[in-house]
């Protein structure tokens, strides 16, 4: 069995003393956390260790002795050997530093192979091993050695409070013994954040109460608000803010990261939104935008009308059924006429509406993008209507044709068995069925062409909206804080460790240096993506093509809520 000793780098230059740490029994390893220096009173050491053991979950014991040979302390060795009788132990380590050599030797009772792994205590304490396992701290059995080491160091936080400026009875050496790290700003922020969070929580609860009153939960209102992406985005931002502003301190790593990510992305969002407002309202750009809106709508309507007139003629040399052509064309042109009248009716109010709506961008760039998407949806509502008419007509035709084709062959769809069966029809049914089949068949090219044209238009609009939603989703869910951490302090997010050989000689134990391996950038995204609504294509390409062919209405983007956790 190989004994692994994890030794902190800060203690390699420490004076002689006792090694304090933790045994990891199953994997036959020991983690050295600190060195207690001479002079000390064993009773006080034991008391201190019991106190720390009760504060944390760590099974602190005295592991052994550490000797750093100095002039005038030749008797140290034998003194330290005698210490093994004072402190209860199952195994006793004796590590000594040999001047002139880079590594230490160790004297052991049994002849075992020993590996000494040096580690940077500060980094290991702050780092988090991925994939994160939370809530399994009790079952040390299932943890690997590495995880146990990281966990032990992280949990022994109270051990590192005593630094060299303290006037206590014990003198310890660990990573913070040169002086505890603290910053005034962090302390101020921590103190100030509690009342701010309380205020925010109260405001948010007021807002959610407003949102849940009966008047606003009537089904038509709820239906519209589920379709408008602005309202959806508002809902999600409220949820995020509620997460961030909860006054409970985040105990687990994932929760903390999520809060931090949401907070940072929210700040970025607001900053971008304010930038946008500054740009829009300078030089009255928004007024200019409003005044170009009505001419643009007019232009779109004119283009549509020309398109319809082209369809009513002989488009691309295709020969259409003139009567049906004229009927459909006139119907759609009348529709456009209604739409343009509506836009002209609204034109005096547009500038004012746009001015106020533009102000809402102060809530964030995502909000402004959602408003843009909704405006595009409203302005192209007539294209959506045309698409629905065309698709329904086409779908009816295809359905009728397929059913009548079965009648043509003398077969019938058996609904019970979900298959096609033969059937003996009456004379009436045969006659009328054939007549209708002929009519539908010859009118098919006309309807198909109208359907094709309007579907293409609708797909263009849908694509544009999809792009906007993609941008919003990116802003919502990108884990900026985690990315920043990965770039600036990569040891905080660890995937594993690397070992570097420091000293490998016969007769002395193997010395390895443990370095932290940070996780890959793609893994950062995978672990820390904020769950939010994302736009995924609802169907695969084949299913989409099939739906288009049959004439079913397509809603290509599905708003999926990824609630993992």
């Amino acid at each position: 069995m190989v004994l692994k000793i994890f030794f902190p780098q800060c203690c390699t230059t420490a004076d002689s003393g006792l090694l304090v740490g933790c045994w990891i029994p199953d994997q036959d390893s020991a983690v050295v956390l600190a060195v207690v220096h001479y002079p000390f009173i064993p009773g006080q050491v034991k008391r201190y260790l019991t106190e720390i053991r009760s504060q944390t979950d760590v099974d602190l014991t005295v592991l052994g002795s550490w000797s750093m040979p100095k002039e005038g302390q030749e008797g140290m060795d034998s003194f330290l050997k005698d210490l093994s009788t004072i402190f209860p132990h199952s195994r006793w380590l004796q590590l000594s530093r040999e001047i002139g050599k880079r590594g230490e030797g160790s004297v052991r009772d049994e002849n075992e192979k020993v590996i000494i792994v040096h580690y940077d205590q500060r980094k290991v304490m702050l780092s988090q091993l991925h994939p994160v396992q939370e809530g399994v701290s009790h079952s040390k059995m299932e943890q690997s050695a590495l995880r146990a080491v990281f966990h032990t160091v992280a949990q022994s936080h109270p051990l590192f409070f005593i630094d060299k400026y303290d006037d206590g009875p014990l003198k310890l050496t660990h990573w913070q013994s040169e002086g505890r790290e603290a910053s005034i700003i962090a302390e101020l922020v921590k103190q100030g954040s509690v009342p701010v969070c309380k205020l925010l929580t109260w405001m948010l609860s007021l807002w959610s109460w407003l949102g849940s009153i009966r008047l606003l939960n009537v089904p038509p209102v709820r239906f519209i608000s589920s379709k408008l992406s602005t309202c959806v985005q508002l809902g999600y931002r409220t949820e995020h803010l509620q997460t961030v502003s909860s006054t409970r301190k985040a105990t687990e790593h994932m929760e903390f990261m999520r809060k931090a990510n949401i907070f940072v992305s929210f700040l970025l969002d607001m900053a971008l939104g304010l930038l946008l407002i500054a740009w829009l309202y300078r030089e009255n750009r928004i007024g200019k935008l409003a005044s170009t809106l009505v001419p643009v709508a007019d232009h779109v309507a004119k283009e549509l009308r020309e398109l319809l007139e082209w369809l009513m003629g002989a488009p691309a040399g295709l020969k259409m059924n003139r009567a049906l052509d004229q009927v459909l064309g006139r119907f759609f042109i009348y529709h456009i006429h209604l739409w343009i009248s509506y836009i002209h009716l609204m034109s005096p109010f547009i500038e004012m509406i746009l001015w106020y709506v533009g102000l809402s961008a102060c809530l964030g760039l995502t909000f402004a993008l959602s408003v843009l998407s909704d405006m595009v949806a409203l302005l192209t509502f007539h294209i959506y209507c045309f698409y629905v008419y065309g698709a329904r007509l086409y779908c009816l035709k295809i359905y009728g044709l397929s059913s009548l084709w079965r009648l043509f062959r003398g077969k019938k769809w058996n609904v019970l068995r979900q298959r096609v069966d033969s059937c003996s029809y009456d004379m009436d049914q045969l006659f009328i069925g054939t007549l209708l089949f002929t009519i539908l068949l010859f009118l098919l090219p006309t309807t198909a062409l109208y359907y094709l044209v309007f579907t293409l238009l609708r797909l263009v609009v849908v694509l544009f909206q999809g792009l906007i939603h993609l941008a919003v989703d990116l802003l919502n869910s990108f884990p900026l804080f985690a990315m920043g951490l990965r770039v600036c302090r990569p040891y905080r997010l660890a995937e594993g460790v690397k070992f570097r050989v420091l000293c490998e000689e016969e007769g002395t134990p193997l010395h390895l240096m443990m370095e932290i391996n940070p996780i890959k950038v793609s893994a950062v995204l995978q672990y820390y993506r904020t769950p939010t609504y994302s736009c995924y294509p609802r169907d695969s390409w084949m299913a989409l093509c099939k739906k288009l062919f049959v004439g079913e209405l397509i809603y290509p983007w599905k708003h999926k809520t990824t609630k993992t956790d």
Partner: protein
């Protein structure tokens, strides 16, 4: 395999044709009664020439029906026949046919006169209502395509016609004929023409086979005369349109009615079917007593 009495065969007990009993013979052994149950040409009827020729008359009759239809269409198209006259003729023929159908007896098949009247009303109303639409259906399709489609459809009608029992009309044949007639009718100059054409299509392709079936059942003597009448009408009508075609039709009819039965009877003697206990079992019992 093979005969018995090989040298040293045990011959303890006679061989039985069973597999469930252990016998001293190998499993694939048969004795000299091998293939004794073979029967040749059990169900083959001896066909007589003139009865076959009579039945073949139905096929010829159907071909000439199609020819009559095409002749009517071309005369309507050319303007030789006014549509009103055709309509009245159709109505008269329908009434005559209906009367004949009733007079021949054989039951009404569960349909009352009122139901028949309703059907007729539906047909007429529907066809009249849709004839303006039908007229403009193939405006954008070229003439050649329309003719080709109609020809194809009428050929399909002839191929899939239920010659054995014309009375419940076969779906595919009737539908193909109607499709072809709608294609042709949409080429006519006016809505009334289209209406007249469709009415005659219905009479010829849907109602005439019912009458023919009844004739065949109830008045077998008169059946060949009816078939001959239709054939003559076909040849005559076609001669006005295309004399070469009428000659072709006549030749086809003769071949169908006279030559093909001769061939069939001649070939009968070469028939060689074998039957035996290895055939698929046919259930001859009436199992409807189990459905209760």
């Amino acid at each position: 395999m093979g005969a018995d009495s090989g040298p040293g065969a045990p011959a303890a007990a006679p061989w039985r044709k069973v597999l469930y009993g252990r016998q001293p013979y190998p499993d694939n052994y048969v004795d000299r009664r091998f293939l004794a149950e073979l029967r040749r040409n059990v169900g083959v009827q001896q066909l007589r020439y003139w009865s076959v020729a009579r039945e073949a008359g139905l096929v010829g009759q159907q071909v000439s029906c199609v020819a009559v239809f095409v002749a009517l269409w071309s005369s309507l198209d050319g303007g030789a026949l006014p549509p009103a006259a055709l309509l009245w003729g159709g109505l008269l023929a329908a009434l005559l046919g209906y009367g004949l159908h009733g007079a021949l007896g054989g039951g009404t098949g569960g349909r009352t006169r009122w139901a028949d009247l309703q059907s007729a009303a539906i047909f007429l109303a529907f066809t009249f209502g849709f004839s303006p639409v039908l007229k403009t259906l193939t405006e954008s399709v070229s003439t050649d395509t329309v003719y080709a489609m109609s020809a194809l459809m009428l050929l399909a009608h002839l191929l899939f016609f239920p010659y054995a029992r014309p009375s419940p009309p076969g779906s595919l044949s009737l539908n193909a004929a109607l499709f072809g007639s709608v294609c042709l009718a949409s080429r006519l100059p006016g809505a009334l023409h289209a209406f007249a054409m469709l009415t005659w299509a219905l009479l010829l392709f849907a109602l005439w086979p019912c009458l023919l079936q009844r004739l065949r059942d109830r008045a077998p003597r008169a059946f060949p005369w009816a078939a001959a009448l239709v054939s003559l009408a076909g040849v005559g009508g076609l001669s006005g349109l295309w004399p070469g075609g009428s000659v072709l039709l006549l030749l086809t009819l003769l071949a169908l009615t006279l030559a093909c039965p001769l061939l069939l009877v001649r070939l009968q003697r070469h028939k060689d079917n074998i039957h035996g206990p290895w055939d698929e079992a046919e259930i001859r019992e009436d199992l409807s007593r189990f459905l209760d």
